[in-house]
């Protein structure tokens, strides 16, 4: 590894340490009460859960539905989906007051609660997604474990769960099981994500969230964010390993995936226009949109959500030369990810700023506290750290070995 690589890992470790400090502050030392119930921690959880679902969809499109192109990123997407979901739990568990009482989810479930269903379905999703990923990489991990020595060998042995089978038969069985697990994982991911949307969408008192279309929109934004994440991470990992990107991947990225990404961003712009125009009919909903369009949140809304998050990426993707270069795709997906984090932040925070029952006027103002920011940035750093180690250790681009076996 180069000096820059060590510096990068060192930097990530420091941010993770700061995140742990943030967790200790929130959990044990105690912080000032947040003026809104669902704060930055929940924003980060929802954002990461959305990304994870999108990555699962991409992975399954390649692995189960065998769409050409998607196959080349199937393993990477599955790996990212698992680590993103695992990291998503960190801010969620920090936010929950009594993690020790979580066993009540099993002992006294409330089947009316969308939150209970979300917990159940995301656990299911994580298990099946992990199984899919394991079947996708097992063969290559066993191969690597025979080639490697020392600690690496032990790590590969642990990942392969003791399996040493390298026969043709086992490869076929792997491919079959990976497809089955992937299919169940997709089903669980979509239902879990629909339920996450429902958690917000069924709340009549929060007009900005309310509406039966919200869960559908959640799934669309998941696919958008999944595409952006896979573009960003794949391009970055080729840059840092200083390898030439395979033609197959490059063609897929600059062709199909670019067009789909551009279409979905354009669709979201239309959706916004529709959402704002129909909000005029409802006084309560319009109140919130007015805050976003022309109120105190207008600057961040227009700058981050619309210009940085949608218009610039769309322009880059549609540009004949910039859209076909990796640099252009990287910039577009990075800007889109920044924009969609701000979108999630504003969407969750603004809906809670209206005091529901008070004779007084005035909005609740919320700025994230320092420990919250530390925990969230620590979570993202941990995610980057696991990914950095993962791309060096795991066989993330050996799709041809497994998929060839099916024929």
């Amino acid at each position: 590894m180069s000096k820059l690589g060590y510096a990068w890992i060192g930097f990530l470790l420091i941010v993770v340490m700061l995140g742990i400090y943030g967790i200790i502050t929130i959990k044990f030392i105690g912080v000032e009460e947040s003026p809104i119930p669902w704060n930055l921690l929940i924003v980060a959880y929802v954002f990461l859960a959305i990304a994870s679902t999108g990555l699962c969809v991409i992975s399954v499109a390649g692995n189960v539905y065998r769409l050409r192109g998607y196959k080349v990123v199937a393993e990477r997407a599955a790996f990212l989906a698992i680590i993103t979901m695992l990291c998503a739990y960190i801010p969620l568990l920090v936010h929950i007051g009594h993690v020790g009482r979580m066993y009540h989810f099993v002992t006294s479930p409330n089947l009316y609660s969308s939150m209970w269903w979300m917990g159940f379905l995301y656990t299911l999703y994580l298990l099946f997604e992990a199984a899919e990923f394991w079947f996708l990489i097992r063969f290559n991990v066993v191969k690597l474990s025979q080639e490697a020595t020392g600690i690496k060998r032990t790590i590969y042995r642990v990942i392969s769960l003791g399996s040493r089978d390298l026969s043709e038969e086992s490869l076929k069985r792997d491919a079959k099981f990976a497809r089955l697990m992937g299919f169940i994982a997709l089903f669980a991911a979509l239902s879990a994500h629909f339920t996450l949307g429902t958690i917000f969408a069924r709340l009549e008192s929060r007009a900005l969230w309310y509406g039966s279309f919200m869960p559908f929109h959640f799934i669309l934004s998941a696919i958008r964010l999944g595409i952006a994440t896979i573009l960003l991470t794949t391009i970055v990992s080729y840059w840092i390993t200083k390898k030439e990107m395979k033609m197959e991947i490059k063609e897929f990225f600059t062709g199909h995936l670019r067009r789909l990404f551009a279409f979905l961003i354009a669709f979201s712009l239309i959706y916004y226009a529709w959402l704002i125009s129909q909000s005029v009919l409802h006084k309560e909903t319009y109140f919130f949109w007015h805050l976003l369009i022309a109120g105190p949140y207008a600057r961040d809304f227009w700058l981050f959500q619309i210009v940085i998050g949608k218009i610039i990426p769309l322009a880059i993707l549609l540009h004949p030369s910039a859209g076909r270069s990796l640099r252009g795709l990287f910039t577009a997906s990075l800007l889109f990810i920044v924009g969609s984090f701000v979108l999630r932040y504003q969407w969750i925070v603004v809906a809670q700023t209206l005091p529901l029952m008070a004779l007084r006027e005035g909005l609740i103002t919320y700025t994230p506290s320092v420990p919250e920011i530390l925990v969230v940035s620590g979570t993202f750093a941990l995610l980057a750290l696991i990914y950095t180690i993962g791309i060096r250790l795991l066989p993330l681009e050996k799709w041809y070995v497994v998929t060839k076996a099916v024929k």
């Binding site: 119930p37 769409l67 936010h95 929950i96 409330n110 939150m115 009549e204 039966s212 529901l356 029952m357």
Partner: protein, 264 residues
């Protein structure tokens, strides 16, 4: 016994339907319910109800004019349409309570008297009830890391007593009884003094009935809560577009790749 797939699906659907109806059963079982009456014409805003509540619940006895983990009830005053309005704020004990449905671990329950309470030893502190409430009533207690709110003194109500705030009010602004009787009383007062009644149908019928000199919902004193189950038609239009459009778009998005796969 073997269960065929069709029977399983039938059974699952029947269970889901019966579950979804039973959640609304409380709204109809009104004869068992109790309610608190707030008479805005009599209230002077002395906050003795707040004091009594804090004594009963062993909370720190400092006055607050906002609901908090240490204040379950308070009276707020303001001027609306040239009339002085006083409103008692506390849990409304909705007939179809969103907090009750939201809590993932059933820490929020309904007592026999119809009042909704939080079992704080059971609460995991996810704050979904706080977000879900129509009226923003439950508050997060950062010390104990649980939600807290008015419980309608359900324990002493079941023994035939009145809630602490009602018992303490010296101005006859609060009353307590069977919900049907309380609604009758509220309507009579409103008729006599030309006031407005709030809480009969909102959110499955509230456990606190208000008589106020102004229309509270119209003036934004209370948030607008729908009285019947209804869905905005605009939602359906969007869903219909999605349901029709998405498979078509999806098919064209992957068509060339499906064909290419077979050729390989």
């Amino acid at each position: 016994m073997k269960i065929s797939r069709r029977n399983f699906i039938k059974g699952a659907l029947a269970t889901a339907v019966s579950l979804s109806f039973s959640s609304q059963a409380w709204a109809e079982e009104s004869e068992k319910r109790f309610a608190i009456l707030f008479n805005g014409f009599n209230c002077v805003g002395c906050e003795i109800c707040q004091l009594a509540c804090k004594k009963r619940n062993r909370l720190p006895e400092n006055f607050e004019t906002i609901l908090s983990p240490r204040t379950y009830v308070y009276v707020s005053a303001g001027v609306r349409k040239g009339k002085e309005v006083r409103v008692r704020y506390s849990c409304m004990h909705c007939g179809k309570a969103p907090c009750l449905e939201a809590c993932p671990v059933r820490a929020i329950r309904r007592s026999k008297s119809g009042f909704v309470y939080i079992d704080q030893r059971h609460c995991i502190g996810c704050q979904y009830c706080i977000v879900a409430c129509h009226y923003g009533v439950p508050k997060f207690d950062p010390e104990n890391k649980v939600s807290s709110k008015c419980h309608g003194c359900f324990d002493i109500v079941e023994k035939g007593k009145k809630p602490a705030c009602v018992e303490a009010c010296p101005w006859n602004a609060l009353d307590f009884g069977k919900r049907d009787e309380i609604i009758e009383k509220a309507k009579n007062i409103a008729k006599k003094k030309d006031g407005y009644v709030y809480g009969i149908k909102e959110a499955g019928g509230l456990g606190v009935i208000y008589v106020l000199p102004v229309d509270a919902e119209e003036l934004g004193i209370f948030p607008r809560v729908r009285k019947e189950e209804s869905i905005y038609p605009a939602d359906f239009i969007y869903e219909a577009i999605l349901v029709v459009l998405m498979p078509i778009v999806g098919y064209y998005a992957v068509k060339e790749y499906l064909v290419a796969e077979e050729e390989e």
